[in-house]
């Protein structure tokens, strides 16, 4: 068994990092909304799902059906990420406007917002299965069938670690995800918009008194969180080349787990939680079999929360400095 672990350690690490960074990007959306509104946006899983379809739209419209190289490849990847961001951010902002803000205005309880989120989630899934996929992607009566992306990127071995090849697409996923997280970190910690977000997270009433427009801060939070989910959707699609209307479900649960694991409300916690979850899942699968992945990840979550109830990094967006 330890022999297995040594043999599969490096490939599992690479896969864990790549998948963990996708978890982390989605987890950012949960964590930001929680930090500002104290609300778990359970429809965020669908924001991710719509991101994958937004990204899918680019090669679909361009009619790409073979692998690209060089500048064309870079261009298509950038377009896919932008389209994913646009679709996801748009969805997230619309969700806030339609499903949350009316409730917030009327002072409804957080439970009401939770139910509203679950309703919005089911609505969006069925919207895609019944209307968007059959019509926009020209797949009549196949709305619930997985949709494959033609391979746009050759599976080139970039370099190898201990004899195990690392593929170009895995490097692209990790680099793009880390890049987006650095941009986000700068945005929240170094700009006026970010200051507004942090102020609202610390004390909404004081923030209003200081002239922060809460509605626009909340909208901004959903916009940024949605955008990150869109990047995750595009990167997922490039690496795994398939999606379906239901794909957000498992990703949503896992990314939410990652957010809690890292410390919900903490941006860097989302990164730590996502990558930890990705790695633990893959290492655990070596010992117990791949079907035990979910059991392992939730056992780890319970263990961490038993000893650190606020997650690995603990500190929330409210107290975030710098």
């Amino acid at each position: 068994m330890f022999n297995d672990f040594i043999n599969q350690f490096w490939p599992s690490t690479v896969d864990g990092l790549a998948f963990g960074s996708i978890y982390a990007l989605i987890a950012l959306g949960y964590t930001m909304v929680y930090g500002v509104l104290r609300l778990i946006n359970f429809a965020h899983s669908e924001v991710f799902m719509i991101g994958t379809f937004g990204a899918m739209f680019v090669p679909f419209v361009l009619g790409i059906n073979s692998a690209l190289t060089g500048l064309a490849l870079v261009g298509v990847i950038v377009l896919m990420i932008l389209a994913g961001m646009l679709a996801s951010a748009g969805t997230a902002v619309a969700l806030e406007r339609i499903a949350y803000r009316p409730l917030r205005r009327r002072g409804a309880s957080r439970l009401a917002a939770l139910i509203s989120a679950i309703g919005a989630s089911i609505f969006l899934q069925e919207l895609f299965a019944l209307i968007v996929i059959p019509n926009v992607f020209d797949r009549p009566q196949q709305g619930r069938i997985q949709m494959a992306l033609p391979q746009i990127m050759e599976r080139t071995d970039l370099f190898s670690i201990a004899g195990h090849p690392v593929k170009l697409h895995q490097v692209v996923v990790v680099v793009a995800a880390v890049g987006m997280m650095i941009v986000l970190d700068r945005l929240v910690n170094g700009t006026k918009i970010g200051r507004g977000i942090r102020a609202t997270a610390q004390n909404p009433e004081a923030a209003v008194l200081m002239g922060v427009n809460i509605d626009s801060v909340v909208r901004m939070t959903f916009l940024i969180g949605g955008g990150m989910a869109g990047v995750a959707g595009a990167l997922y699609l490039i690496a795994y080349e398939n999606t379906n209307y239901y794909i957000g479900f498992l990703f949503g649960i896992k990314a939410f787990t990652a957010a809690v694991l890292g410390g919900i409300g903490n941006l860097r916690g989302a990164l730590v939680g996502g990558v930890t979850l990705g790695l633990v899942e893959n290492y655990g699968a070596i010992f117990f079999g791949s079907d035990w992945k979910h059991v392992i990840s939730f056992t780890i979550l319970v263990l961490v929360l038993m000893f650190r109830p606020t997650g690995i990094l603990g500190e929330s967006l409210q107290q975030a400095r710098a």
Binding site: N7, Q8, P11, D15, A148, N242, L250, A285, S290, D291
Partner: protein
Amino acid sequence: MALALGLAACGNGGSETTPADGGSNAAAPGTVKIGFMGDLTGANAGIVIPPRNGAKLAIDQYNKTNPAVKIELVEYDSQADPSKAVALAQQAIKTDKIVGLVGPAFSGESAQVGPVLEEAKLPSISASATNVKLAENGWKYWHRVLPNDGVQGPGIADFIAGGAAAKNVFVIDDKSEYGKPLADAVRAQLATKGVKVTNDSLDPAESDFSSVANKVAAAKPDAIFFGGYYAAGGNLLKQLRDKNVDAKFLSGDGSLDKGLIEGAGADNAEGALIGCPCYIATPDVTDAKVKGFADAYKAAYNADPAIYASEGFDAATVFIEAVKAGKTTPEDINQFISTVDIAGVSKQVKFAPNGEVEAKDIYIYQVKGGAITLLGKAAEAKLG
């Protein structure tokens, strides 16, 4: 809720000959209703639409002969969800008053629907459920028109060790009511042949199978068998090939769909081998009966017959023969089914008392140039 679903399912038929009144309970005089139940719009609909088409073709052909008693096909879209399937079965029995059912398509839903049909004394013939245990319930009204996984698994294993000459095999299952027993049957049979077997399981709801692929890469097998449906199978095959694993990929009837090729990509799927207790009428067949079926199917649906199409046709044919013989109550039809012995498109149709069909051939198919082609019977097929 169930009623609304039933109506929706009928609306999805999309053909002018399916009456859109699935919810109404009064059949026209001289008409009996036969149901078809399966995943018509869900993730694995690709292997349920062809048997639906086959059954519909048989019934349409029969109705065109202007018989005294016409047959109306009522569709029930269970989306492979056992709880939905049970609700639909109750609707079929109480509201629609069907006299026979083609389906349910999958094993999981069959296990749940079986007792309901048994209690209502309603005969059913599945064209695709292959779980062994289904026949062990003592059900008197349940039948299937193809051999079970207990036949399929060993048949495929014999081919892996024989025709494909593999010595080191990695067997993966999806933990489903269908995939696990099939993979276990393959494992057991391979072990008796002295083949080295390594195992893993996956969750088909997931889309990242890299941990499975890593295990396979470490085991360096010369063949891989996957027990599960094509939606996960295609993704798995792709991720295996992405990890430079080039061992032969084999799977069972649940993966016999072009969705496997679409999910994996044509290059990755090339050469993949799929075993099936089903017989697919490929366009180049010479047998007159099979050719007639293939041509009629192509004319009606503008597609070549795919998986279980001929089995769906045969299952419906059994009910048609019963109606032709003047049997129009569920009890009489069930009586008729136990004595039936007719030459179907897929095989000679004759049922054992436990509901199993007597013919036991397993066929091996291969992906060539992005299409599924027939390689031959499992016992005889050789890799060229």
